[in-house]
Amino acid sequence: MKDPTASLVLAAHLALLSSISFGGFPTVLPDVRSLVTANGWATDQEFANFFAISQIVPGPNMILMMSFVGLKVGGIPGAITSAFATFGPPCLMYYTSYRLWDRFRDRAWQQMVRRGLAPLTIGLVIAGGYVMARAADTSWQRALVTAVAVGLLLATRLSPLWILLAGGVLGGLGLLTPWE
């Protein structure tokens, strides 16, 4: 099972996928999944669990998720190579493009591009939150938690940590489960 060639094959695939993962790594998750299951490195259920756990652990979720796959395939070295393959190539691209962007900072066309793109980006952030809410809010109680969280973050200087904690506690007490 702990096969070094498998780790390298996985790392090479991840490096390729992370380089084309426009819109974030979740967009290439289906490809990773078919690679992993086709090679028998993990079952569908295991893959789903990797996803769930990487979402609750704080920190770099997708890097961590790929590291769980790497861990399964090649132990600790597999986890480390997977991590690097996931964030290495995009980091080089971020760095190069940011330097280029910065160099042309004062040009008129760049100000135009900036003014044009910023609203789109922000719309996408709100859409991302909305899509998350649609997936998470399986009961009206949960939808209420989402709405209250929006209000609290906008209207108060309360730390988001307390808001998250409150959501977790209410859920843990069983107050947010749908009533039958």
Partner: protein, 190 residues
Amino acid sequence: MNQTVEARRVEERVALTALFFGFLKVSLLGFGGGLVWARRIVVDQQRWLNDHEFAEILTLCQFMPGPNIVGITLCSGSKLRGPLGAVSAVAGFILIPWTVGLAFGSLCLQYAHLPILQNILGGLSSAAAGLMIATGIRLLMPQRSRQTALLFAALAFTGMVVAKLPLLVVLFGLAPVSIAIAGIASPRVR
């Protein structure tokens, strides 16, 4: 527009360790969406960047492949302290949280099916979704006087949520129009 931040940057450079620990915090607190914390720490708490600069970095990162939040970390570090700043910020974001997460996660994977854990996760994700929406609204505030900006934010939202178009289609479909209108609408373009 950026003069206050620019002036402050000249008199006191942000320490590399501050970047490391700042983004370590972003990473550790970033349940279900690091963006919420990145904006809070970088803009509200440390005042390293203002909302405009943060939105600009976010925009650039959304047009690049890879984990956007790592891109935001890298670009913020690079903007404040150059290449070393970029490395410090990314190291802060990844190193410790990755190690802890891998250990803790491997343990958790054995208990992933317990109902109470599922309930807690459910409540957390509902709250996290709300925080994400609120962060987007906060970022929109500096743009609120521009009607075209509000229109294109709404169009991007609709494209994703109502029309359920793929992200790439929304981005590359709306971008040329939005840029063109921004060019026509701003009289000060030289």
